[in-house]
């Protein structure tokens, strides 16, 4: 369960978040939509505890991130906006590293790693050094490292960019399975078909504020359009950023 309450954050003169509120419930996939610069990444960074909000709060499973960041992060799996790999480690070593940071040990850790490698169909990549991996392979390693500890809440910042069709399908299946197990998934994307197909609820953010929320169907109805893309453009009031 992720709750964002009246979050405000400015960098100098730029008001990145301006009283944003929404929640992502357990057992649902919540989509975070918004044009470039709407404040999605700022919102998520505040949720990770990297940024301190000027006002408002981010709460994960009833833990305030600003007050107990380490406790809150234990409940979180993060697929960040900008990610890199430790290029001198193998994929397995890197996933192992993150598993250990989340406190997994011994046989339990080994099983968790094997599980995530199987789930993401990446056993053949596991023992190669990540230097020279393709964009899609890099995404998979990052996904695996953020999923290995089976987080209760899972936040993904544009997870499908650079993935091929097969990998995107694997990811979608995976997210659906997580949802069925009652996990809370918050995921930002630009791909409307994906959001429409996958998300139970959609949050549309524009100019650091909540512009609209509801199921994809509700949003289409609200805007009087049949396609989510058209509805999105109508709701945010411009076609800026849609093509990105």
């Amino acid at each position: 369960m992720i709750e964002i309450n009246n979050l405000a954050k400015s960098f100098g003169d730029v008001q990145a978040l301006d009283g944003l509120s929404f929640s992502a419930k357990d057992g649902e996939i919540t989509g975070l939509l918004g044009p470039n610069g709407a404040g999605k990444t700022t919102c998520l960074r505040t949720l990770y505890g990297l940024l301190k909000a000027d006002s408002g709060s981010a709460i994960i499973d009833n833990i305030d991130v600003a007050l107990q960041p380490i406790l809150a992060r234990q409940k979180l799996g993060i697929f960040p906006d900008k990610f890199g790999l430790y290029e001198r480690l193998t994929a397995y070593e890197q996933i192992d590293y993150f598993a250990s940071i989340h406190g997994l040990t011994g046989e339990h850790k080994k099983q968790a790693i094997e599980q995530v490698l199987t789930d993401l169909q990446m056993q053949d990549l596991a023992h190669r050094k990540t230097q020279g991996f393709s964009q899609g392979q890099r995404m998979k390693v990052t996904l695996a490292q953020s999923l290995v500890h089976q987080p209760k809440n899972f936040v993904l910042d544009e997870p499908t960019r650079g993935l091929d069709v097969m990998s995107t399908r694997i990811l979608r299946d995976h997210l659906s399975k997580f949802k069925a197990k009652g996990h809370c998934i918050l995921f930002s994307s630009h791909v409307m078909q994906e959001v429409a197909a996958l998300c139970d609820r959609v949050i549309i953010v524009a100019n650091g504020k909540l512009a609209a929320q509801g199921t994809p169907e509700e949003l289409c109805e609200l805007a009087g359009e049949s396609q989510l893309e058209e509805a999105f453009v109508k709701i945010i009031g411009s076609d800026e950023g849609v093509a990105a």
Binding site: F11, K52, L76, F83, Y86, R88, L89, S100, I101, H102
Partner: protein, 386 residues
């Protein structure tokens, strides 16, 4: 503990797998023996050599025995000067005039007047002139003694007083220059060896976008900083140990006793040096991490950290110019260790209290740097390099 072990294992893996950076880090160590060897060799050569002197002698044929004495002392006639040095010795223009009646006056026991003319104010000529005068006077004294001896007079009568000169300078002090260089070099090694790892694991990770993910994990920034510090300092300490080992090996090949130096790196000195330098390795790495974590980019980190490298060279050199050293210099990092190393090389007994004090202050400052850095890594300014 599980977290710290994982962090440490990952840092070590990354550091030791970057073979090229590791080679550069160990460069200092591999160059040390070469430098010490070359330096000592040139110094010995300069201090014990008697290079040839070319004198314009007029009337050399009148005093063949004196000329032989000259030749034995590598003082040669100007006509024999090699082409490439001709100009130099022509300019120096050292001229000795031997009178025609040299042999006649010698037989008659009269004083022979030789004229030695040159520009006495010129510094470079002082040593040759001293050697020429010594040679002539020795020659004259031997003849004088012989004259007295054949007349049955004890030559000791000519010497009512004899001075015995005793040099109280410690023999090792003569090797002061070499030891100063070695001291500087070891400090540099402590600062340089861990450098690439410190920058790579801080500013480098930020630039490769892996730092942000790590800071989003449920792990305290103190553990992260400590793991990185341990890795960088390990490399730094390895650098110092390697430098010491290779240097002690190479010093064995140079005969420093020729210049009266008793400089040696025995096990005891190596141990003392290690006790002095290991805290420096940690301090240097902490300082480098502190600076490069706060740099906006890898390049900025590199240029700022390069400035820190000046520290170990500047402080000992500056200390040389301070005659009346304030007490607190014994306690500070780098300066304290540098002064103690000087004592060690001069064979002055080591003041263990000072070793503990300067080591303690160095470690305390390292801890302070780590704590402040761990705190700073929680601020969004440092995390996102805003």
């Amino acid at each position: 503990m599980i977290q710290f072990k994982a962090l440490l294992a990952k840092e070590y893996k990354e550091a030791f797998r970057d073979k090229r950076a590791l080679m550069v880090a160990m460069m200092m160590a591999f160059l040390a023996p070469v430098m010490i060897f070359a330096l000592s060799k040139t110094m010995i050569k300069e201090m014990v050599a008697t290079p040839p002197i070319y004198v314009k002698v007029t009337g050399a044929e009148f005093a063949p025995k004196l000329m032989k004495q000259f030749k034995d002392g590598n003082i040669l006639l100007f006509k024999d000067v090699p082409e490439d040095e001709k100009r130099l010795w022509d300019e120096r223009n050292i001229a000795l005039t031997i009178p025609k009646d040299f042999a006649k006056n010698m037989v008659e026991g009269k004083t022979i007047e030789l004229v030695l003319s040159t520009d006495y104010s010129e510094k470079a000529i002082r040593a040759p002139i001293r050697r020429i005068k010594d040679k002539i006077q020795t020659y004259a004294r031997i003849i004088g003694f012989k004259r007295l001896l054949v007349r049955g007079i004890d030559v000791k009568l000519l010497q009512p007083i004899k001075i015995y000169e005793q040099d109280t300078a410690q023999p090792s002090s003569n090797a002061a220059f070499i030891s100063l260089m070695l001291g500087l070099y070891l400090l540099m090694a402590a600062f340089m060896s861990g450098l690439s790892v410190a920058i790579d694991s801080s500013a480098g990770e930020r630039e490769r976008n892996v730092l942000e993910i790590l800071l989003c994990q449920p792990v305290s920034t103190l553990k992260i900083v400590l793991a990185k510090l341990c890795t960088a300092s390990t490399i730094s300490v390895i650098g110092v140990v390697l430098t010491l080992t290779l240097t002690s090996f190479s010093v064995g090949f140079v005969d420093l006793s020729k210049i009266g130096a008793t400089f040696s790196l025995d096990l005891y000195s190596i141990l003392v040096l290690l006790i002095l330098l290991i805290p420096i390795g940690f301090f240097a790495s902490a300082l480098q991490l502190f600076v490069s974590f706060q740099a906006k980019s890898f390049k900025e980190a590199q240029s700022t950290v390069s400035m820190i490298i000046m520290l170990p060279t500047m402080i000992p050199v500056a200390l040389m110019f301070i005659d009346d050293k304030p007490k607190w210099l014994d306690w500070l990092p780098v300066s304290g260790q540098s002064l103690l190393m000087e004592d060690l090389f001069k064979n002055v007994p080591i003041n263990w209290l000072e070793v503990a004090a300067t080591g303690g202050v160095t470690i305390a400052m390292t801890i302070a740097l780590v704590m402040v850095l761990a705190y700073k890594l929680k601020s969004e300014k440092v995390v996102l390099a805003l």
